[in-house]
Symmetry: D2
Subunit: 349 residues, 4 copies
């Protein structure tokens, strides 16, 4: 089968690989739609270290191609969604309530990291009964695929942010994950959502997805502006959806005492992420810094699909580009170099 | 001043009373809009025992008429909202996180219970700085007044229900509080909201306020139907918004293991409220029964006003009747006897 | 191999059964020590319906006899503890945070319910890597076996009770589970633990295990006495460790507004468990009723073993009787009929 | 009356001040015992900026000398404890659940910060009914005074650390607050408490107060050693009880994915407190950083007194030095310069 791989750091391309075989509890899924993620770029540029001929991609839906002997709830032909994170559910971290950390820190993140990813004709899924979810007929593949990572990661930023109904929330950076965090903040009942973003097309999407105010850090001091918008208080919750030291510092500074900084950004560089000491209340302002990795698993995916089924949000407006799998090289270039105001690139198979 | 009072059990009417005077931390508010609540009926019919010449009403907005010497943040002329519950914030129950229980069980409920209520030209508010909230210009009195009890009580049903994003919720009874619980379930991100209601006009409102499905208990078995709608599982959260033994039993029966029954109904009669033993998992299904009384206080009211300001919901569709204060007797009759498909009765001053 | 079974409702005895075989992820354990539980009696008397030749018992430790091909962390010869509850970790209820409810309500409870129990020379354990725990050398079998159910159930009563440091707790009934709930309340930092019990030998154990006060319901009014002991307030947390309608009612009555009734009692009879309406604050006192089933799994067992290893508690004082497995019939009679002031009966193999 | 003040940065001494007068809700307390805190040193050396003739001290007990007209529960002559933090209970931060932040960040910290402290013959307490607690006869002043800050701060480190029963906890630095955090970890049910400390006398106290293991950072690599002690996993909870950048980094490094770093250290210097990026799981390890300021208020103090009354801990072993108030200058020198292996200095009046 055809697979789009990272050949080595900095180099991608197609190669031929055998169709994977499922273990007793596993499934193999034939890909129908996939999305390119910023993490794919990080990986290619060496963010998680060297890899050789590793199939890229972790956001996909497809049709079950084969299942292992112990799989009970899925059959070949089923149309399914797979979370970007596919936990080992019996692991001690899962028993502790953190399945994304099963098998070690960030260990639930297997696709295009610990094993081949989803940019291929077929891909392998561990523990099919626990990690696949059937897609309802009313939801198309190109919509369902957003649950795998974008909705799950964006929403967990809101969930871990402990947002009260009517609370104030700032979402720092309105990329695809930040936009879905904006949706998540609305879904938790935020009374005012402030999107921090400078790119006009993303500002527009932010308003569409529920931001009540936009703050442009290129023309305004974010800390001052957010305090102004919140009567001098700061927000109940700041969601860091970029993964940059300076943005994280801003998140701490705009969050009120007793509030929560909820991080869903991937910090790709530097030895430290720095907390501004004084604005952090010298460590005594009852502020919480929460972090999370995209929740996966069947239950999570079923719940996200229900959100789509009930038409609470239409994530397909994030799709700025669509390519056939055969054009994957160009597709990856667009995403990697952030060409043409790209937000998300959809790949069809 | 004119006040509409409960003269004794079963008898209401106008009487003249002196304008109250504020203590050092208190305020007196001149009423501009008020709402009649089912609890007013309960009270008149003896639900909280005998009262003599007690001014009725606990949902109101108005203009500050006078403030005590220690009040810092409010001045005569300010347009303000007052929660139905006005806690004593220093009380041990408040320190424990339950201000509605300050001064004893349900002790935050003072209006038309422990002291005169709001159906009068003026009414008294304890601890003005902590219990008043300024109303933004963009929100009319007839909308803001819904925060006092309807939004606060309805929403707390959702908040205590521990609803996951994409979770399933049933709201039992779509009276005004149940309708606002339906809104609350949507505000917390429910993926499917099932409204249980038999009255057509309320079913219609339920759909408008966010119910995805309606179950009519007069034509369907609620337990069967809810299990059918949830793939046999039951809901994550059932909100009891009526206060009837049979409804409470249904709530327990339709909630899945690990789920939450969130009660905001006032149980007015009977020695017991009964939990169905077997469906409760013989006490071992990891099910939680949460209860709450309308949260009050300035912060809560400010957050609810923010929800209105951001146009997340328009509660004024609950207003089926409007009367001037002079017509209070007829207004009360309509509300008390549930005439003319009444939902909420607004009183203007 | 020899197994002690429930032949039919009301009749027990030995029979010969084949040694079970492990599936790919499973283990078979050779029993070394076991405890008889009140639930075994319930089961024999028909509490969970008819069973034929079902091996009894769910509290055991032993030596791994055989493991399936997929088991990674355990080998024959390992000395292991098995929780009374052995969840399916990939199940949706487990993903939802309630592994004891995996496979349906109370579905994690498999031993002597859905499959043969542990009163046999050998028994079968599903998902060995996730459900077994290695016993440290410093802990004897006759101590470790208490983790399986007694510590896990007793402690979860305290954990779900949301006890603040310095809070007040009542534990209703000081049977073995109630005694371990008393220990659990102390482990969570309770400032005053009130044990409700009438049997002198159990009162003595209650004091030894950390009850600061004993209330004897045969000579005192429990509701009055607890209010007296708590300055009229009621307790922060009442743990129901019996499973009786009247005890449950008392638990509600002695819990303060905002407090928690934490149920770990198994309610074996009656159509309803009844909440006293008025003392429950007519459903509005911010009181929570939490319920739980014994948590199982390797992580839980490892943590409980750590509690023993650190000598925080010595549960072996619960052992009032010890019998060899060959004397199981007499042992069961003592436990079943509650002869000789029995608390727990230990079976050695 | 006599007061021990900070005359200016770096200079302390006695001066005469008038006895304060209570406002309507306030009390004035005649000091009987007080403790010197490291924060007093910080303050004198300019940690919170310049102050002129500010009375020092925030840990005290005493006898009520006078009360305002609105005070209901206390009378002159009552023996009382006052928390180091005396919140404004009606403030929005208090309504939000964070009374220590009332009146602005860390605003509940009034003594020797926003107003005169307790090192004087008498001191003023705002909102007496909400901020005083009666001391039971069985507890001496020299013991009760430890509740004001040491127990409250140490314990909140454990409470915010989300420690599971049987969990593993490291407490970094075994000064007086760290030692009480060690006690707090035990009170929450930790299965293994690791105290990090190099001073022998404090190591000894750490063992006495419940540390199961001691790690000496001068002779061992703390990160390696803690991983060794926890089977390579890291701890469930690390409590930072020093307030140093390097210690904070260690806390992050030794905490497992899904675990909590609970900070109770006051960070007195540097622009930033730095999170080690990689060991923090690049912001995605589901790790939480919680912070808190000493909880105050009557309920908290009553609960802490209950812990002492029940003899769960004897904090007086922290008292290494006792001086009469007249010898305050020498007392302060001992505490300030950390002479003679000082832990806590008690002042008697």
């Amino acid at each position: 089968m055809k697979a789009f791989v990272m050949k080595e750091i900095g180099r991608v391309g197609f190669m031929d690989k055998p169709v994977p075989k499922p273990g007793p509890s596993d499934a193999v899924v034939r890909t129908t739609s996939a999305l390119i993620c910023t993490s794919d770029s990080h990986t290619v540029h060496g963010g998680i270290g060297p890899r050789k001929d590793l199939t890229l991609g972790h956001e996909a839906v497809g049709i079950v191609h084969a299942v292992g002997s112990e799989v009970k709830d899925f059959r070949p032909g089923d149309r399914v969604l797979v979370g970007a994170i596919t936990p080992d559910w019996g692991d001690l971290a899962s028993q502790n309530g953190f399945p994304s950390q099963s098998g070690g820190p960030l260990g639930g993140f297997k696709f295009a990291n610990r094993k081949d990813g989803v940019f291929a004709d077929c891909f392998h899924v561990n523990d099919a009964d626990a990690n696949l979810a059937r897609i309802p007929d009313s939801i198309g593949d190109e919509m369902a695929v957003y649950c795998a990572d974008m909705l799950s990661t964006g929403f967990v930023g809101a969930e871990k942010g402990n947002i009260p109904i009517g609370g104030t929330v700032a979402v720092l950076a309105q990329g695809p994950v930040g936009l879905m965090a904006t949706v998540g903040a609305r879904l938790r009942g935020a009374g005012r959502v402030i999107g921090v973003e400078s790119v006009p097309s993303r500002q527009k999407l932010a308003r569409e997805y529920g931001a009540d105010e936009i703050v442009d850090f290129t023309s305004e001091d974010v800390v001052e502006r957010v305090h102004e918008l919140t009567g001098g208080e700061g927000v109940d919750t700041a969601i860091e959806a970029l993964g940059a030291d300076i943005t994280f510092q801003t998140a701490v500074k705009i969050t009120k005492p007793g509030g929560t900084v909820s991080n869903i950004g991937y910090f790709g560089e530097g030895e430290f992420v720095r907390i501004p000491r004084v604005e952090w209340g010298v460590g005594m302002a009852d502020q919480t810094i929460a972090t999370g990795l995209c929740p996966g698993g069947r239950l999570r995916m079923e719940r996200l699909l229900r959100v789509l089924e009930a038409k609470r949000v239409d994530p397909t407006h994030l799709t700025t580009h669509t390519f056939a799998f055969d054009d994957m090289e160009r597709a990856f270039e667009v995403a990697d170099k952030k060409l043409e105001d790209v937000v998300k690139v959809l790949i069809t198979f």
